[in-house]
Symmetry: C2
Subunit: 358 residues, 2 copies
């Protein structure tokens, strides 16, 4: 729709969306119509809150998608494009993405491609999305069960973060979202890491207080390298293995993993690579594993599965000319990117993972 400014507006709002209401009132002199995308969960638990407090959303057209990553595909896009066209969306319309990362990923892609791009607002309803997926302008859908192969860099018009939605989330989703927060500490901020460790044991009750800090870390990195030609790649720490594990579980219909759950496994594997290749201290590696163990029971993955997972890594977008490249950490809070990792190192990381999870 318009040029990317690399930093988009983010509101950290109250429980009653007073800032979002102000924003809408400010733009309300121009003519526009909202089209709201939800999933079955957010329709039930989050939409009533929005409708109660945000007047102009009441008359939106609403489409409700099936829950989950397995619907983040082109067929769902086609349904949404047709719905928008049939309901008269024009270039002044605004799409609202009410949901987690799946909704903002697909809704951002659909809005950015219909009529060559219309505005969209992300209202993240999961912790994961509040601190990561809704921010930074990446969107994408999966194809052939490989994650985010089709997508764009397009900034949202606005992101509205309200902690009110945390109350609607099951604990499993809080645990999952926290994986990204842990990642921010590991790649960028040793003080956040200390704080998190102080809260060990009660962390899931106090995640709220870290949200603004995590948003700051992410946006600071994104603003330096919007199109991910360099430094932004450090946000991929844990994700090269993490995405491949998530895709493998999705393809093989194994009990499905949430993104953050796969990311915990990825952080363990890539922390080991960091220890082995980049000089991360053994003690720090152990502390990272301990913290993750205190939060989440990691999935057991056997050697045969890992062979397939490593094959998937070669499809991953961090891959160049066949040699997988990783973003790793040399210390807590210090990261490097474009680190080539050979087969032998990958196998050692796999052995480490299998060993500590058995």
């Amino acid at each position: 729709m318009s040029e990317n400014n690399f930093l988009h507006q983010i509101i950290i709002d109250t429980d009653e969306f007073s800032l979002f209401n102000e924003f809408i009132n400010a733009i309300n002199n121009s003519q526009f119509k909202f089209f709201l995308i939800a999933d079955k969960n957010t329709e039930k638990y989050c939409l009533p809150l929005i409708k109660k407090f945000v007047k102009n959303v009441e008359n939106s057209d609403i489409i409700v998608l099936n829950n989950g990553e397995s619907f983040k595909n082109i067929n769902t896009c086609i349904d949404i494009w047709r719905w928008l066209l049939e309901n008269g969306a024009d270039r002044d319309s605004i799409v609202i993405n009410l949901g987690g990362g799946v909704i903002s990923d697909i809704g951002g892609f659909v809005a950015s491609t219909i009529k060559r791009g219309i505005k969209f607002i992300n209202i993240p309803t999961t912790l994961m999305s509040m601190v990561d997926a809704s921010l930074g302008g990446k969107n994408g859908i999966d194809i052939s069960n490989i994650k985010n192969q089709i997508g764009l860099y397009t900034n949202p018009y606005l992101v509205v973060v309200s902690p009110v939605f945390l109350k609607t989330l099951p604990e499993r989703h809080i645990v999952s979202g926290f994986a990204e927060m842990l990642k921010y500490a590991l790649i960028d901020n040793v003080y956040l890491w200390y704080e998190i460790n102080k809260d060990k044991g009660i962390i899931l009750n106090v995640v709220n207080k870290y949200i603004a800090q995590c948003i700051d870390i992410k946006m600071n990195i994104v603003s330096k390298d919007f199109y991910e030609t360099g430094e932004r790649k450090i946000l991929n720490f844990g994700h090269t293995f993490g995405h491949a594990i998530e895709s493998y579980y999705l393809t093989n219909n194994i009990n499905s993993l949430l993104h953050g759950e796969a990311l915990y496994a990825g952080i363990i594997l890539e922390s080991f690579l960091s220890y082995n290749i980049c000089g991360l201290k053994k003690m720090d590696l152990n502390n990272i594993c301990d913290l993750i163990f205190s939060l989440y029971k990691l999935p057991l993955i056997n050697k045969e599965d890992f062979i397939e997972i490593i094959k998937l890594i070669s499809f991953d977008k961090k891959n160049k000319n066949g040699a997988p490249r990783f973003s790793l950490i040399s210390n807590i809070g210090e990261s490097k990117y474009n680190i080539e990792v050979n087969d032998y190192e990958l196998k050692r990381a796999v052995d480490f993972y299998i060993n500590i999870t058995k």
Copy 2:
């Protein structure tokens, strides 16, 4: 992939692609791979010329699409995305779109959305595409038989215009492509209009000499308003009716019209609107009709068909809040945009068209 600079590089090349070869040699120190998209026609008539003169294209992966607008849809995109992924396209790969507007529209969209955007080079093989479709960064696909509803603004990395391909084209396609050249004269350049009229009768033999001038006109307009919030809309002259007629013929499987053929009809209809609303002189309207008659036998469209065509206009992206808006001309070479046209005026234009074509 990267920021849009609003003006992209255009090479008007020799028959042996010497400038394109220079360009490739200049970037060849970095590692990249070509993926070439053709259709059945360009595979047969144009690819051999490229292969003969451009060394590095020889080893490209090549996908060949079915011919025609009816394949410019999401299913074709899915085929191309999968082909790119299966053949190892990465963020350093370059897509080459070898064909007319359908190929650059779909290839530009696919390249801009895979892995959040990779580079693409347009090599237009039709006159239409040399002077219009391949230039200016718009791409798009059709959905539910409505044209270009899904798409983006993304500049090509390079456009290579070589008149050598004009020799491969049947006359029908030269006639069609000339419709856009005529449009440039009408909206922007009365001197081009005079020149064209001097060549009346032999125009199809000399189109070559106008190509560079038409490219200049288009890029000058595009550079002022890349995202089409204002002045770029004047490029839509003739297209509001033109697109609707083209969509209607496509949907109803009437003998199919080329884009430029529908555009001639659109220019007649919108020149009448221009005469009736914007003060275009009657004499100029007549001269426009005469010139078009000398080039092309306009399709007969009856009243019932026009009722459906006018319905389609309300789906068109130039439409805002229900009132269709047109880009019209107040004089030859002078244009206006966002002109609202009511039902009565539309019907008068339709009557005029039916009357002069019967």
